[in-house]
């Protein structure tokens, strides 16, 4: 099966409503028995007495979508997955809001548990996405992934 390259980017935060709709769309897929969802949420970290109020995300979208496509295809080859949905925010996402959503489904548990952390870690490591951490006093620093 050849799958199209999808656009993973959503402007602004990913709302709980969007996530609920995505879950609801699987009700007619009655071969699915297990879903596993990862959500990244913006933390209000304190750094030298200043608090992060939001992250402003940008990306090289063409490359990010292409690499995400490759990560997706590799996961489908390796694991017995029914479907996979990946979204990442662009622009401003406030502390407490969700910026990253990875959703895998399968008939049974093992494939969703085995695949999800791999996919999440690969995306964070390989996709050219850049987070600018905004402090409450309007200063900023550039996010560093550990």
């Amino acid at each position: 099966m050849i799958r199209k390259i999808k656009n993973i980017f959503i402007e602004g935060a990913i709302s709980p409503k969007t996530i609920a709709e995505s879950i609801g769309h699987h009700q007619h897929k009655t071969k699915i028995g297990a879903h596993n969802i990862f959500l990244g949420q913006v933390r209000a970290d304190q750094i030298n007495g200043k608090t992060i109020s939001a992250i402003d995300y940008s990306a090289q979208k063409e490359i990010a979508n292409q690499l995400c496509h490759e990560i997706r295809e590799a996961a489908f080859s390796k694991h017995d997955l029914s479907c996979m949905h990946i979204y990442h925010s662009l622009g401003t996402v406030k502390a407490g809001e969700i910026c990253f959503f990875v959703f895998v489904s399968s008939s049974h548990r093992p494939p969703v548990f085995e695949s999800l952390s791999e996919i999440v870690n690969d995306i964070k490591e390989k996709l050219p996405i850049f987070g600018k951490e905004l402090f409450e006093d309007k200063s900023h620093q550039w996010k560093v992934n550990q």
């Binding site: 964070k124 987070g131 996010k143």
Partner: protein, 77 residues
């Protein structure tokens, strides 16, 4: 040959530019990197990858693209 350079994330601050068009020619991506490090000394403080024509590429590759992206460390998620 004309090529468009785009600076992402903190590299926009290091260069003071979002993008620019160069007409110089360079043999390899590495040669272009060295040119930019001299042009924008602040780039020395940030690790960055380069991409040509929407593919991340290594410094030893011949420079053949007309769209070059400079990508600082990734921090998605």
């Amino acid at each position: 040959m004309e090529m468009k350079l785009r600076y992402f994330g903190q590299l926009q601050e290091a260069t003071g530019k979002k993008e620019e068009v160069l007409t110089d020619s360079f043999e390899s991506l590495g040669n272009l990197r060295n040119f930019l490090l001299k042009q924008y000394p602040k780039l020395n403080h940030v690790h960055f990858k380069m991409a040509q024509n929407n593919k991340i590429d290594i410094d030893s590759s011949p420079l053949s693209g007309n769209l070059i992206d400079l990508l600082p460390p990734f921090s998605g998620g």
